[in-house]
Structures are given as C-alpha cells and as structure tokens.
Symmetry: C2
Subunit: 304 residues, 2 copies
C-alpha cells in the first residue's frame, strides 16, 4: 500500500522533506501560506547539496479544506503556530491517519493529544541545515537525517513504512523506539546553541572558539542530560562529548531560533525551553542555567 502524505507548513523543513518524497514519486499534498500562488505558477525549487531539483507539478493547497484525506501528515510548522493545528488537521484525517510532528522541543505531542484525544501521534526530529530563501525556494546546506518515533500509536508499522519511503527518496530516516530519548537528545544541542546564539548575537563556531562560552555550552548540555535522567530518560553524560565533537566539525551555523531572532519572528521558547524546564522541575531537578537562558530569551522576545 502506498501512503498519501500531507505536508503542513512548506518551509525550510516541509519543503525539503516533502519535496524529496514528491520528487521520488510519492503522493504528497502541500499546504502553503503566502507562497501558494507563486508555487502554482513556478513550482517548488529545492537547491540541495545532494542535487538541485524543481517540482513543476506540485499538489499545492492554500487551505487544508481542499486537501484529500491523508494517511500521514508531516507537521513542519514552527511550534509557535501549533495553536492552529486542531483546525488545520480536521479536514484531512481519517481514522488511521498518523500525524508526525517534525518539530523541536518537549511536550508538543502531549499538548496536541490533550486537544485531540483520539489522534494517532508520532514525533520526528530533523537533523538538517536548510533554509527557505524565497517563495517556494528552499536551500539544503547540510545533513538531513530524520528520526521518527511513536507517541501513542497502536501500531508502529506505519512509521517504519514512512522511514522506507524517505530512504527511497534519498533521506536517511530511522525509526526510534524511544521518542522521549530522541527528543531529549536533540535538546542537548538545541537548548544551549539556539538560545546562546540569540542572547550573544553570534554563531555556533564563535561560541565554541571562546573558552568561557565553550565551557558554558558544555555545562548546559550536562544540565540537560541530568534533567533527562531525572525525567526517567536514559541519556548518558558521554553524549555531551559527542555533541561537542560534532559541533567542532560543523560549519559556522545560525540555528533556527537565531534566524527567527534576526528576522524578528516569534522564537520557539515554549517547547524548547519552558516545557523541559517544567518537566525537570516536576521531577525534582532545577535546570538553573537553562532556566536563566529561558528568562533572557523571554526578555529579548518582548524587545522586538
């Protein structure tokens, strides 16, 4: 059985992942916001380190009300828009549809499950450097791996099929049996680098080159690992070394929150900072440095 896909939010992530699926012949239906007319006329363009392509015949929509029922919904919105999800999803779901939240942070699935208790929910982590550089125009700079895991699926086999579809499309995709572990792992990198590049208005390489911030990044990563452990997630301290080494080999990089800051867009403070801080605190651990970064970011958010 071949799956029918919906992409909710065709930006840096949705444009790339949905574009890769469509390019390899999968049945993908894209929701656009401002770019709808442009894409109808000019198609969706992906300039990728793995090879550029242009999708001429995009199944594009400007509202989900015109979309078919889909088996798999890839949610690639910024989490600051998740308040819209319930209404966006309603027209395209059948009883067995699976919604995959390819978003950063903690507690996203739980919040959606509270709003839509019968929904089949999974989570996805994208390890990718990509940007939307113009209407219907995505550049893919580096990486691209996807990790998918179940939140409340009765049957996880569909996730494995999604992974296969991605693999066939040239996207390395892995099924994770522990979604919470995958989410906390990603937070180990995201928490220090997203916020610190904003607060100090800089890039990852500069934070790593300065002895003081390099130490602070490490300390915050450890704090995230300890928070995960208090929440019952078996992350190891050695994972921090792995992330430090990985970052040392990365090109200078502005994480997504830094781009949001630069373009005066709302930052994803809620799910990347507040939810982990609260979850840790409820498990008896005070993430003092992460909490401080959250407070600094909340101040900055009000100065836009």
């Amino acid at each position: 059985m071949s799956l029918k896909y919906a992409v909710i939010g065709t930006g840096a992530l949705g444009g790339f992942y949905g574009g890769m699926l469509a390019q390899s012949g999968k049945d993908v239906h894209f929701l656009f916001h401002n770019d709808y007319e442009f894409v109808k006329e000019h198609g969706l363009r992906v300039d990728s380190v793995k090879g550029d392509f242009l999708l001429n015949e995009v199944q594009a929509y400007k509202s989900t009300s015109g979309m078919p029922l889909c088996d798999v919904v890839l949610v690639c919105l910024k989490t600051v828009r998740n308040g819209l999800l319930k209404n966006l999803l309603a027209p395209i779901l059948h009883k067995n549809s699976v919604v995959i939240l390819i978003q950063n942070g903690l507690g996203i699935e739980a919040d959606l499950a509270e709003e839509m208790p019968t929904l089949n929910i999974a989570g996805g982590l994208a390890f990718i450097c990509s940007n939307k550089v113009g209407p219907g125009h995505i550049t893919h700079l580096d990486y691209g791996r996807l990790n998918l895991g179940s939140y409340n699926l009765r049957d996880e086999i569909i996730l494995k099929q999604v992974c296969e579809d991605f693999e066939q499309s040239g996207v390395p995709a892995k099924y994770s049996s522990n979604l919470m572990l995958a989410r906390w792992e990603k937070l180990v990198w995201n928490i220090p680098f997203n916020g610190m590049t904003v607060v100090l208005n800089t890039t990852t390489d500069r934070l790593m080159a300065n002895g003081s911030t390099r130490k602070l990044i490490e300390d915050m990563m450890l704090e995230v690992v300890h928070a995960a452990n208090h929440c019952g997630v078996p992350l190891k301290e050695s994972f921090v070394n792995k992330m430090i080494e990985m970052t040392d080999t990365m090109k200078p990089y502005a994480p997504s929150m830094k781009l949001d800051y630069d373009y005066k867009r709302p930052m994803e403070i809620e799910y990347i900072y507040s939810h982990p801080v609260v979850a840790a605190l409820e498990s008896g651990f005070d993430m003092k440095k992460v909490k401080m970064l959250e407070q600094q970011l909340r101040f900055i958010q009000t100065t836009y």
Copy 2:
C-alpha cells in the same frame, strides 16, 4: 590633625568625592590622566544634584611622582587598572598612609596586599550615580553615600576621621565594622544588574518591568546571598527584598559596566564576577547563574 588626601583616578567617583573634600577646604591632591592640562587651565567642574561647583585652584598632577606624601589615598580607578597601583602608590606613601580602595567587587584588597604586604589597606563602597561627561567635568545625578571599612588596619580611627571629613563636606559617610559584609551587600545589586544590562543591552527599569528578568534578577540576588553565607558573611535573604524595592524606586539607570560596554571599555568582570564565583566555590557553593553571566560577559568582552 588634618589629613592630606590623594585621589588616584579623577573620574566619575574620584572627581566627585575628591571634589567635595577640596570644595570644603580639605587638602586634596588629584592624579589626572588625559585631563591634566584641561583642569590646570579650566579647573574641575562638578554639576551635582546637591549644588554645582567649580574648583579653580586644583592641586593637579599628571604623575604621582610629583605629589606629596599623603595620609589617605582614595583609589578611584576602575579595577581593570589595578595592575598599575603598586607603581602609582610608591611615591606618595609614608609609613602610616592608608589606601582606601573605592572600587566594586571582591578580593581587591587581598590582591593589593599580596603585592604590597606592609600596606595599610581599607575598602570603600560608593552608592552613587555619577558620570564623567567631559574633561574635568563630572555630573552627579543621585545618591552619594560612602561606606568605609578596614581590611588590615592596625588602628581604624583614621577611617572614622575620614568619615567625618566627608560628612563635613556634605557626603554621607559611614564606618563599616565588617568590610566583607559591605562588599557582599553591594554585590547583591551589582552582580545581576551590571551584567544583565550588558548581556541584554538594556536598563535597570526594563529588567524590572519584565516578569522573566525580574524573577531572574531576584534569583541571582538570592544566589549571591547564599554565596556570601557560605563564605561566612552574615547576609540575610530579606536583603534581596530591600534591593528589589530600592531598584523599583530608582530612575532608569545604566550601571557602570553598561557604560563601559557602550563605550567599548574593558569591563570589571574579574572582581565583580570571577572573584566572588571562585570564593563561593572554594567555600563549597556553586553560583550557577552568576557563573553563567560571567561566561556570557567574557564572550562579549572579546567581541569589542
């Protein structure tokens, strides 16, 4: 016996405090750096909320080698210049001279005592809003109180006489029997507000008006109180409420470190942050938030 005073560093602090003493007839000798020629010609001008004055006949020097031996040396340099002190002080000291370090931070006296083991050292805390606005031109905006305490004086009576001289000159001055308590008290305010106005590029009133940073300021103040307690200094948690209330009634204010940052001058990170952090750590307490602020400031210092 009337005291002969030297002022080392005639800026926002030295210009005001030395100026007030000289204005009331005390014998004060001022060391100038760039402003020497200007002051020789035009005098030293202090525009104060308590009344403006101009000192026409300033006992001004551009080097301490031409100065007389002085009984009391008021050191009003930024601590980033303290490496110069040993050479600056040598020509003006007699056996009983007392050097009063009117500077912010912790460990300043100890560092000087290590360099000059026989020196009579005291410390001073200035509660004042004043700025140098031009050559030989100080504006005094608010407050002005001085707290003086002994570091290693055999006889503290001279400090009491200095307090009297200040009082006679219109400067409220108090003798503190516990210098370390006075220094930690001042750090309770200085640590959060100096660094946070720099990192978030803002003013005290905006930090207080935002719920997130207001909470962070309070948390950091408590961290400083707990650090002091670990160092054996009997500061009370209620002192934090006092500082918060005091700040709520203050005019919008850019602390000295914020001005240093704005004018790309070196920031006093060493004595306001690093020394307290190390002192607390040696007493078994990890100031996690203050340490993080120190690391952020050290990064910013390198981006000038």
